[in-house]
């Protein structure tokens, strides 16, 4: 019963939030729907990422989390409104959205396996005009992830899963994005590495004010760094609120997040 009330209050809060801070939202999504062929995967979703904020989307396998990220950068057929800093981006091509500062760490990492680590990083900066600063940014990534520096001349396909995940995050950061989309960055990583990765993400978020949309199955880690959280179930938002509220709600944790 108490879980039910929370749902109701959360639902009531969501629109209030949206009207409260429309101008300050970095990413604002309304009525986002997506389908693969005839199968609807997302049924009209509303959410937002604040400027310099971290929003996390939680949910089980098959809830539509990956699809949601793909829909935001128009990799699949979608309908609904997506605004980046107020500007409609839902009809733009994926590469045009990237050029507006949306970095993406995709499902399955998407590294260029036949290219070297350094080439992968340089590709991340492909759209940037300030060619002179790219070398320095590579060094910054190596400072975050020293393992990558050791392997800079190696083909990315020869890296371990964890190292490839670090590479995928670094490559997305090389864009100097305004918004970073992260699809399960903890996937396949040892707990200690997950901890490190999330600390680095939080640090980057705080120092560089990069907004993040974080899709995760590891709810505990995601809620620890996020400020907003949405719970997705079979393509619908069933609950939303501030991360701290959701984290502290025993009922939600037990029934939805399973930890």
């Amino acid at each position: 019963m108490s879980a039910g009330t929370t749902t109701a209050t959360a639902a009531a809060r969501a629109p209030a939030l949206a009207t409260e801070r429309p101008a300050s939202a970095l990413l604002e999504v309304r009525g986002l729907a997506a389908q693969y062929g005839p199968t609807m995967v997302l049924h009209g979703i509303d959410f937002a990422v604040g400027v310099g904020g971290i929003t996390t989307i939680l949910g089980a396998n098959g809830a539509g989390k990956t699809t949601l990220l793909r829909a935001v950068c128009n990799m699949i057929k979608t309908s609904g409104e997506v605004r980046l800093a107020g500007e409609r981006i839902d009809s733009l091509a994926t590469e045009a959205i990237v050029r507006r500062g949306v970095g993406h760490v995709p499902d399955g990492r998407g590294t260029f396996t036949h290219l070297t680590v350094e080439e992968n990083l340089r590709l991340g900066a492909h759209t940037r005009k300030d060619r002179g600063e790219i070398g320095a940014d590579c060094e910054r990534m190596y400072a975050h992830f020293p393992r990558l520096k050791e392997r800079r001349r190696q083909q990315a396909g020869t890296l371990s899963g964890g190292e490839q995940q670090m590479l995928a995050v670094s490559r997305a950061l090389m864009l100097r994005p305004r918004l970073l989309l992260l699809d399960e960055p903890s996937f396949g990583l040892a707990p200690l590495i997950v901890q490190q990765l999330f600390e680095i993400l939080k640090a980057i978020n705080e120092t560089e004010r990069i907004g993040m949309l974080l899709v995760e199955q590891n709810a505990a880690m995601a809620l620890a760094i996020a400020d907003q959280a949405y719970l997705l179930e079979t393509g619908r938002v069933v609950m939303s609120g501030s991360a701290s509220e959701i984290r502290s709600d025993e009922q939600i944790r037990r029934s939805y997040l399973g930890y």
């Binding site: 950068c73 990799m75 590469e95 290219l115 590709l123 490559r171």
Partner: protein, 289 residues
């Protein structure tokens, strides 16, 4: 022994031509996973353009440059206008488009320039260079030009951001879009470059085989054998394969019989497909251009 040396050296000269065409095939193969059967006819058509320019009084190197640029533009246009709309069609549809392109260019050349065999000038002197007894100056010159082209391509793909983006787009289009690469344009650029390389090969081989609409038929076959031998998905391997096929062809021609030259190409193709379908360097991705 001297004869063998002579045959090996002039084999390297023709091998350079096969290597260039093989490289053009590989570039398009990497992006589309199909062999562009029209590659040879595109080169032939470009060579006719060079011939027409030279006939109308343009100096050789001027005609050379105009031809390479036009071939590049033509390659880009073919990708954008003809290949792009059928990009996601079943493989058979694409194969038919490539064969149609082959037939179209062949008949177009025959229609415009007639099927009579024409001599094509060589930019190099008739006397052998440096007084050597092994290679004609055209063989030496075309080998040098081929090597320059290959070197330029290597530098372009290895060391420039655009070359890197083109390699990325061919390997992984989805991730390429996610870093903001305009994948469609990269593929078109690949077609343009392949056509430009082919046009150089056409102009270098035309003085030897003479200019006629079917002049690239055999060469495409040798190039295909070279590409397969080296590994159809390995640019460096394809170049090496082209050189090997060139040498083999020449040596077989002299010691076994020139009737069997073209058969050799087919034997190589069948042997590679049966024994090692990935070619010499197909799987090991360390050789890059």
């Amino acid at each position: 022994m001297q004869q063998l040396l002579h045959q090996v050296l002039s084999g390297l000269a023709t091998g350079g031509i096969y290597a260039s065409v093989a490289l053009a095939l590989v570039m398009i193969y990497q992006a589309t996973h199909l062999v562009n059967f029209a590659q040879g006819e595109m080169a032939m058509f470009a060579t006719y353009l060079a011939w027409a320019l030279i006939q109308s009084g343009v100096p050789y190197w001027g005609a050379f440059a105009i031809t390479v640029v036009s071939a590049f533009v033509l390659g880009v246009a073919i990708e954008r206008v003809i290949v792009r709309p059928v990009e996601n069609s079943p493989i058979l549809a694409l194969v038919i488009v490539f064969i149609a392109l082959l037939v179209i260019f062949n008949s177009l050349a025959g229609w415009i320039f007639t099927y009579t065999i024409k001599p094509f000038p060589s930019p190099f002197p008739a006397e052998p260079l440096f007084g050597n007894r092994y290679l004609s100056s055209h063989e030496l010159g075309s080998m040098a030009i081929t090597l320059v082209v290959l070197l330029l391509l290597f530098v372009f793909f290895r060391f420039t951001p655009l070359g890197l983006a083109m390699r990325a787009a061919a390997q992984n289009p989805v991730s390429s879009r996610l870093v903001g690469i305009r994948v469609g344009w990269m593929l078109a650029l690949g077609w343009g470059l392949a056509a430009a390389i082919g046009s150089v090969a056409g102009m270098m081989v035309a003085p030897t085989v003479f200019l006629e609409p079917n002049m690239m038929g055999g060469i495409l076959l040798y190039a295909f054998a070279g590409a397969l031998l080296g590994g159809i998905d390995s640019p460096g391997g394809a170049v090496l394969g082209g050189f090997i096929v060139g040498v083999l062809e020449n040596v077989v021609g002299v010691y076994v019989g020139s009737e069997l030259k073209l058969t050799l190409a087919l034997v190589v193709i069948v042997a590679v497909l049966v024994i090692k379908p990935s070619g010499l360097f197909g799987k090991v991705q360390v050789v890059r251009v």
